[in-house]
């Protein structure tokens, strides 16, 4: 065993890891974009008067939240082909991680929407606004600021969960570090660098979320 740090090796592998960081960021960004939109669909579907839809979506959200992400990734990638759905690692990974986080984000939205006072809905009704306008113009703008903190947590969360995509061969950071390690029989430098890169992105991201929240509140005059 050797514990000495090899600087030359470090600088040799850094470009490859930085290139993989771009993949990680793309994976997190795409997955999050899916989750942001699908989460809203899940949240709104649970508020329709159609009881069977509300119930089904509620159960699906519960199911997704109670099973491990890595299982969902395997499921989409390996079980899909049995039913004739053959997906690339990237596509399968984005579907799995996007779906997983949409379940969590739907709960964030739900909390935000429920926090909007009943009087706001009644004022909309008294002004004879449509359901669509009520949501888009009155409820969602007010549900947004209290949701931003939760949304930000899950943005950092999805970023930190992207290494799970390595199990199906998505060439993100961890996958690349593994490859470098087995090619060179040295794991200390690649794994340490991966850790540092994650830290260097996660920490400022949390700060940006807080700034963003304050900005949105100001903008909405709240």
């Amino acid at each position: 065993m050797r514990f000495d740090w090899d600087w030359e090796f470090t600088f040799e592998i850094l470009p490859r890891l930085l290139a993989a960081t771009v993949n990680t960021l793309i994976a997190a960004g795409l997955g999050y974009a899916i989750a942001v939109v699908l989460g809203l669909v899940f949240a709104l579907a649970q508020r329709t008067p159609v009881r069977s839809l509300t119930f089904t979506v509620r159960e699906v959200v519960e199911f997704i939240r109670s099973t491990p992400l890595v299982l969902q990734i395997f499921f989409v990638f390996y079980v899909g082909p049995q039913f004739g759905v053959r997906l690339s690692p990237w596509t399968a990974g984005m579907i799995a991680i996007g779906l997983h986080y949409s379940a969590y984000l739907s709960e964030v939205y739900r909390g935000g929407i429920e926090a909007v006072p009943k009087g706001q809905w009644e004022a909309c009704r008294a002004l004879n606004m449509s359901t669509r306008d009520t949501y888009l113009r009155i409820v969602i703008p007010q549900a947004l600021p209290p949701s931003i903190a939760g949304m930000g947590n899950y943005l950092v969360g999805i970023f930190k969960d992207t290494p799970m995509l390595s199990v199906i061969g998505v060439a993100e950071l961890l996958h690349t570090a593994n490859a470098i390690g087995s090619e060179n029989y040295r794991f200390l430098e690649p794994y340490t660098l991966v850790g540092i890169i994650f830290l260097a992105i996660s920490l400022p991201a949390a700060g940006f979320v807080r700034l963003f929240e304050a900005r949105v509140r100001r903008k909405l005059g709240l």
Binding site: E122, R125, A126, L127, M129, S130, D133, Q142, G221
Partner: protein, 270 residues
Amino acid sequence: MDLSDYPLELPEGDRPMVRFMNVTKRYGTLTVLDRLDLDVAEGEMVTVIGPSGSGKTTVLRMLMTLETINGGVIYVDGKPLTHMEKGGKLVPANERYLRKARSSIGMCFQHFNLFPHMTALQNCMEGPVQVLGMSKSEARARSEELLEMVGMIDKKDQHPSRLSGGQQQRVAIARALAMRPKVMLFDEVTSALDPEVIGEVTNVIRQLVAEHNLTMLMVTHQMGFARDISDRICFFYQGKIEEEGPPEQLFETPQKERTQQFLSAVKDAG
């Protein structure tokens, strides 16, 4: 009474602006309105008074269609509000019908319920632009005129959080009026206000009564104000009208014992 016993429309010559016909409202096993009959004529100002829990707010909320109805029919301007015609008889109204039917009614709430993310002016323009499909410039002109009327034009670009309760309530009145309702409902619009600003809101309502031909239904605990401006007072007791009449009569010579008790209790408290 079966739904088929109610007229599809009120006959010419017997068309009050608002008619509650045999209206019942229940929450679970609690009957809040018990076969209520109440007419409000066009241009009339009717004030509902009564003890807490007697169903005053419920009457207004039923008329604003914020609550479902368990029995009877409400008519507005001769046409059913809570029900619609289907196959020659009345059935409970669907959402689409309600949207058309309630467009002639406006309401102001105890806690204002202004939209906090919009300025006073934007609050007033929201309905005309989004619901009535009015152009922005036209909606702005109408809203500014109304804000002027309620004395809030100077604050038109402020968000509600920057306004006092009395100011917020005046904006809320302007917002409701911007929809040009035929019937205005006021539910204890001064109850959440500091005593020194109550007058600025009641003065706006006085002005409405004096200068506009609006039909109004108001709930208030301010007996003096009710007496000054109402055409008629309805005293509610346990979901029914216990006694009604012109203000002088109801306040000076109440006939029913419960009315007398209520009025003397209010006088002692006030």
